[in-house]
Symmetry: C2
Subunit: 325 residues, 2 copies
Amino acid sequence: MFTTKELLEKVNRYIADWDYSREPKGLYEPIRYVLSLGGKRIRPVLMLMAYNLYKEEVDSVLPVAVGLETYHNYTLLHDDLMDKADMRRNKPTVHKVWNENTAILSGDTMLVLAYQQMCRIDNPVLLKKVLDIFTEMALEIGEGQQYDMEFETRDDVTEEEYIEMIRLKTSVLLASALKIGALLGGASDKEACLLYDYGVQVGLAFQLQDDYLDVYGDPAVFGKKIGGDILCNKKTYMLINALLLADDRQRAELKRWIDAREYEPQEKIQAVTALYDQIGIRELCDKKITAYFEKAGECLNALEVDDCRKQMLREFIGSLIHRNV
Amino acid sequence: MFTTKELLEKVNRYIADWDYSREPKGLYEPIRYVLSLGGKRIRPVLMLMAYNLYKEEVDSVLPVAVGLETYHNYTLLHDDLMDKADMRRNKPTVHKVWNENTAILSGDTMLVLAYQQMCRIDNPVLLKKVLDIFTEMALEIGEGQQYDMEFETRDDVTEEEYIEMIRLKTSVLLASALKIGALLGGASDKEACLLYDYGVQVGLAFQLQDDYLDVYGDPAVFGKKIGGDILCNKKTYMLINALLLADDRQRAELKRWIDAREYEPQEKIQAVTALYDQIGIRELCDKKITAYFEKAGECLNALEVDDCRKQMLREFIGSLIHRNV
C-alpha cells in the first residue's frame, strides 16, 4: 500500500512526463498549462486509494487515474470560461492567457484525452464497465453545471434541489473515481457501490463545508475571500435555510440585503452573517456536514476489507473535516 | 442491402425516437434542436453503407451510426459558436436561440452522448478497436479546427498545409465512419483501411469542391452565397495557388484586393474570379478534384467485395461530383 503522498507523487510524475508532442502547439499548450497548475489531485488519488484496498501495485492503472484528473481539469477550464473567472490556482485562466475559442477547443480536446486514457484499460469487460460509469458521470456533471447556472436566476430553489445539484456537480466525480478504482482492483459490485456511496457523502460534506467556510472560514486558511457567496446572493444550503427558518423580521432584513443594489461589501457580509447566527444556520450547517461525514464513515465500515487498509480513506475524511472549521 | 434512402430513413427515425427525457430540459433541448435540424446524415449513412458491404441487417449498429452523427453535430455547434455564425441549415444557431454558455455545455454533453452511443457495441474486442479509431479521429478533428483558426491570421499557408488541414477537419470523420462500419461488419483490417483511404480521398475532393463552388457555383443550387471565401480572403486551395502561379502584375492586383479595406463586394468577387480564370485556377482545381475522386474510385476497386455491392458507394461519389459543377 502506498501513502497519500506517494500516490500524489505518482500522479504528478505521470502528468509531468506526459507526451505533449502532438501538434498544433496552440491546441495542446493550454492543456499542458492547465494540467501543470497542480492542485490536490484528489480524484486520481482517491481512485488509486480505492484500487489499493484490493491490489498492491498501482502503476498499471495510472493512465485511468490521470484520465479522471484530465476530465476534472476540463470541467474547470470550461466552467471558468462560462463563469468568466479570471484566475484559477493563482494563475490566469486559459481564456485570459489565450482566448475564448482556445478555451472551448482545448477543453473539448481534454475531454477526448480523458476518454483516451480511460480506454487504456486492457481487460475488455472492465473497460466496458468503467466507460459506462465514466459516461454516466460526465452526463451528470454537465447536468449539475446546468442546474447551477439556472439556479442563479431563480429565487425558489429548495434545499432538496440544491443538494441534488451539488451531488451532480461535485459528488459523482469523487464517487465514480472510487468506484472505478475499486472495480479495477477486483472488488465486487457491492464493495464498489459502497465506495461510490462513500464518495457521494464525502462530496456533499465537502461542498457544504465549502459553503460554510465561505462564511465562517479563516481567510488565511480558506484561500478564497470570505463572504463571496453572500455578496452574490448564491443560493447555498445556508441562504436557502436562512430564508426558510427566519422569523418575519429576520426574513425582511435578509431580503433587504439580497435586493440591495448599493452597499458596503463588508457591511453586507457582517449583517448577513449575523442573521445566519441568529437564525441558527451555523449549527444547522455544522450538523449537516457532520451527518454526511458520519454516513461516509458508515459506508467505509461496511467494506469487507482489513480495517488497517481503510485507514488512508479515513485519514482523507479527517483531512477534509479539519481543513479549517 | 438497403438503399441510401432506406438507410437515411433509419437514421432519421432513430434520432426522432431518441429518448430525451433526461433533465434539465435547458441542457437537453438544445441537443434535440440541433439533431432535429436534419441535414444529409452523410456520416452515419456512409458508416451503414460500409457495414452493409459485409452484413445485411443494420439495425444493431444504428446507435453507433447515430453516435457519429451526434459527434458531427457537436462539432458544428461548437464551430458555429467559435465562428460566431448566426445560422445553420436556415435556422438560428444554439448560441443565438439560447446563449453562449448553453452552446458550450450542450455541445460538451453531445460529445459525451456520442461516446455513450459508441459504447453500445457489444463485442468487447470491436468496442476497443472502434473507440481507439473514434478517439484518434476526435483529436485530429480538433487539430484541424485549430489549424483552420490559426490560418486566418497567417499569410504564408502552403498548399500542403491547407490539404492537411482539410484532411483533419473534413476527411477523417468520413474515413473513420467508413472504417468503423466495415470493422463492425466483419471486414478485415486491410479492407477497413481501404475504405478509410476512400473516405479521405472523397473528403478532400468534397472540401475542394466546396471551395470551387464558392467561386464557380450556381447560387440557386449551392445553397450558400457565392464569393464568401473571396470576401474574407480565406486561404483556400484556390487562393494559395493563385498567389503562387500568378505573374507579377496578377499577384499585385490580387494582393491589392486582399488588402483593400473599402470596396464593393460584387466588384471584389468579380475581379478575383477573373484573376483566377486568367491564372488557370479553375482548371487546376477541377483537375485536383477529379484526381481525388479517381483515387477514391481506385480504393473502391481494390475492395474484395462483389462489384454490385460497391454500387451504392460509387453512386455516392457520383452524387457528390454532380452537385453543381
